[in-house]
């Protein structure tokens, strides 16, 4: 094990580390917003919206993330646009993850007993008020564990950015590797960088889930 790789290339690793964190955070925020919107579509009373929401979730969940990223990376050029690897990758991650988050939110809302909505409605709240004050606060609690898991997935999945030169941890690791020729050592350090992010999150999620089970 050559620890000099870590110290010599620390700046390169950190550049990728920052890229990975930034992409994951942006995609988390984006996919939460998009996912909530899609979830609302899916439980909407308007048939068109419901179909769109269902179609979106079913389609995206059944195709590989890499393909979604390729579509955003190479696709826009047919219309004279161009996104760089980081942007296309982050948008791809957002779109992909939003389908899973939409499902989690929908399940969370569905888990709140219907009687509560009815009670809220009959006590004079509008549908939207009932949602905001009664259903969503309870749903959120159920939704947080799957959201947390999606965040861990996002951090891991952001590694596909390397394939479109998206300046993430894996991308810079490849550059370190082409300098050092020490594949094993180079990527063990990469693994440590990922674990620094994901292990604490994973721990928090487990504790949270246990608390909910109680």
């Amino acid at each position: 094990m050559q620890f000099s790789i870590l110290t010599d290339y620390f700046g390169t690793y950190m550049e990728g580390f920052r890229g990975t964190i930034l992409s994951s955070l942006l995609a988390l925020a984006g996919s939460f917003l998009l996912g909530t919107l899609i979830a609302v579509f899916r439980i909407s009373t308007a048939r068109g919206l419901r179909w769109f929401g269902t179609g979106y979730v079913e389609f995206i969940r059944n195709i590989p993330l890499l393909l979604v990223v390729y579509i955003f990376y190479y696709g826009p050029s047919a219309f004279g646009l161009s996104l760089d690897g980081f942007t296309a990758g982050t948008i791809g991650l957002t779109v992909y993850t939003s389908a899973f988050i939409a499902e989690a939110i929908r399940a969370g809302i569905a888990a709140v007993p219907k009687g509560q909505t009815e009670a809220a409605r009959s006590s004079g709240l509008t549908y939207v008020q009932a949602m905001i004050h009664v259903v969503l606060p309870q749903a959120i609690k159920l939704v947080i564990p799957p959201l947390g898991n999606q965040f861990i997935n996002l951090i891991k999945n952001s590694s596909v950015l390397t394939i479109v030169a998206g300046l993430d941890l894996m991308y810079f690791a490849d550059i370190v590797n082409s300098d050092t020729f020490r594949t094993f050592d180079t990527y063990v350090f990469v693994a440590l960088f990922y674990l620094v992010l994901t292990l604490p999150l994973s721990y928090v999620m487990r504790v949270w889930e246990r608390r909910l089970q109680r």
Binding site: Q2, G85, I163, F181, R182, T183
Partner: protein, 275 residues
């Protein structure tokens, strides 16, 4: 639960120390297995098949044709000649796909006997592998969309974005020639070329030989400017594998004296090699 987590952290620390310990016992990661006879001449003859790492995505040198499933190119013809020299049969050969990023690991893992894949001989690489004599003389150049304001290296500034392939010498060279230039590196040339076509950069840089192949694939692109580096290609084998290097060099010498080399060169490059 808590205990398990403590155990996890302890084990990670222990693992780190063990790994650190490995380093003290002399580092030979990526080292050669030639001593064990792997990839040696005897092993090749015993197997009856030459395993060669070639590119599958580089027109003129090694390109897989979707319609026939065959890999074709200059590197392939050279590989066949080596197979004929060593085993007496040019078809006693197994081609495996390598990229600039994966060819040295695959060679040192003993998965392939040699790399014939547009590989420039460099001092750095000589520390990892042994090279044959030069079998092709290339030079780094630029590929751009026709009508691009980039006409040569002089037009590449620190505000330009240049595309290249991970693990190639070209990306290092361009960073040295134009300090501060943005370089985007892809896993293979196919992806880099698709990126150029979809407007991800001002130019694609690598050896002119490879770039001419891309320009032949898509006439909307052209190679501009004079080559600005020397890229002598060599065939790489595991370190210490001098028998195989000799067999390769003998083959190359035979090809050159018989005129066969010129034929292969003309077949793919479209002109006679410079003397």
């Amino acid at each position: 639960m808590k205990k398990s987590w403590k155990l996890l952290s302890v084990m990670m620390v222990v693992a780190l120390f063990i790994l650190a310990g490995c380093g003290n016992n002399g580092n030979n990661a990526g080292g050669s297995n030639a001593a064990a006879g792997e990839g040696g001449l005897a092993a090749i003859k015993e197997r009856g098949k030459l395993q060669v790492g070639v590119k599958f995505d580089t027109k003129l040198f090694g390109l897989k044709d979707p319609s026939s499933g065959q890999v074709e190119g200059f590197d392939i013809d050279i590989s066949k000649a080596i197979a004929k020299h060593i085993l007496g049969d040019e078809n006693a050969i197994e081609l495996k796909e390598v990229t600039s990023k994966t060819r040295i690991p695959m060679l040192n893992n003993g998965e392939i006997d040699m790399v014939v894949a547009t590989m420039t001989i460099t001092e750095e690489r000589k520390k990892e592998v042994d090279f044959s004599d030069v079998y092709f003389q290339a030079g780094q150049s630029l590929l751009v969309k026709k009508g691009s304001p980039v006409k040569g290296l002089a037009d590449i500034t620190k505000d330009s974005t240049v595309l290249g392939s991970k693990g190639s010498t070209s990306v290092k060279n361009i960073k040295e020639k134009v300090p501060g230039v943005t370089v985007l590196e892809f896993d293979n040339y196919q992806d880099a070329f698709t990126a150029l076509k979809t407007g991800k950069g001002d130019a694609l840089t690598t050896d002119d030989s490879i770039l001419y192949g891309m320009a032949a694939q898509d006439p909307n692109y052209e190679v501009v400017g004079e080559p600005f580096t020397d890229e002598p290609y060599g065939i790489a084998v595991q370190k210490g594998n001098s028998e195989v290097v000799k067999a390769i060099n003998d083959t190359l010498a035979e090809l050159k004296s018989s005129g066969e080399y010129d034929k292969i060169y003309e077949k793919w490059i479209g002109k006679a090699p410079a003397k």
